[in-house]
Symmetry: C2
Subunit: 277 residues, 2 copies
Amino acid sequence: MKWKRSERLVDMTQHLLDHPHRLIPLTYFASLYDSAKSSISEDLTIVSETLEARGKGHLLTVPGAAGGVKYIPKLHETEIRAITDELKERMSQSDRLLPGGYLYMTDLLGDPDLMNRIGKVFATVYANQKIDAIMTVATKGIPIAHAIARHLNVPVIVVRRDSKVTEGPTVSINYVSGSARRIQTMVLSKRSMEKGKRVLLTDDFMKVGGTMNGMKSLLAEFDGELAGVAVLIEAEHTAEVLVQDYVSLLKLKQVDERNGSIVLEEGNYFQKGGTQS
Amino acid sequence: MKWKRSERLVDMTQHLLDHPHRLIPLTYFASLYDSAKSSISEDLTIVSETLEARGKGHLLTVPGAAGGVKYIPKLHETEIRAITDELKERMSQSDRLLPGGYLYMTDLLGDPDLMNRIGKVFATVYANQKIDAIMTVATKGIPIAHAIARHLNVPVIVVRRDSKVTEGPTVSINYVSGSARRIQTMVLSKRSMEKGKRVLLTDDFMKVGGTMNGMKSLLAEFDGELAGVAVLIEAEHTAEVLVQDYVSLLKLKQVDERNGSIVLEEGNYFQKGGTQS
């Protein structure tokens, strides 16, 4: 059956968007739609230009025999700003304040649409970098890690506080939690990561960066390389941050338990001028 | 700027697929593309027919002033079979066997593309049911819960083994873990769920169903209603399963530590004849 251009465009769009950062040979589309490669190329130009015009990313064409096309999700700066503004507004609600000055954000981490959009933001930031995996600590970072990983087409590695029988042999390290200066343990299943990978660390919240620093030590045990650190919210504090080159969307300036105020401002993403390259 | 049909089709497809199970008024597209509603309707027919022909779901048209169009992800039976077969093949690798007969599956749960496809499978199964939220237990069920939730456009609720300061007030219950018959505790943040919700439970693995039964008890504390139980893999055993109406993709028949064999067969999804309605 020969497909009409209109049908090809719909199907190509769904297929490409469902497989971000994956090389799809032109022959895949040509044989699926029983169409000439020249028609497919024209279709792909329409798809790419439309996605780009709407700020959803673009198609990267890889020439040659082993070539093809790859969808690179990349949000416009305006959309990144809109997502961050929404996150800031929702995080500023005073009923999020918990005893001790902690902020409740479990509902946000359980919102798959918000997580999807935040995943796209960080996939935009690291779109041009080599990333082999996303690493996070159980449990709150998991939805963010998966959202980023989905848009970068890489696996998620989950570090735990304790080892479990279902994880097999593990590597464990001790680290100093930044703010409380307590010794803590982190455990990673040996088979969850090969040696020498380039890894992006992520978490929902970062204070001094003790947890991130712990993950860095763990990464070193696997001869891994740090590709970057992506956090939703960093907290302001006087101590020096233990990790460099992190990207945050929001910064928590101040929490006042008495009058229930939460003061947030934009994170360093906006100072850094966006995309890391 | 007036959009061409080809551009509208690409953009509509990306927008609809990015917002599953969400009602989008026709006026949204009409004003975005500066096009007549009649043209938009024709476009939507092309999108819906193409998605359906490719086994990716369809568009549901809701008539009336408050109407619009909704993308309902629904995989073809052949694709559900292909995903299950892939999962079965990967799960059968003998190096997954851990001491005690446990199976290593952390890598699969960290594969965002596989999780995405499994999410679509369960979103297909429960496409016609009223589901208000997906509930799972930390930590291994989280990627599955988020994948399903994303395709059904509902929030994820994560039950924990212990309470944390960042969760606020919690409700806790005790339950009997099915196989070991140990008393265990489950904790849920009070503000993570409103009363009276219809909830789908999910997890990666189910033996007798003790954990699921625990979540059922917790759900009862929130006057919630059980919408169903979705598990990747159920294990065969002699005891009676503690939950009814579960859907599994695979069944673990036998594990032999000595010769390293893992015997899996299809889960009850294939006996039930698919979609729950």
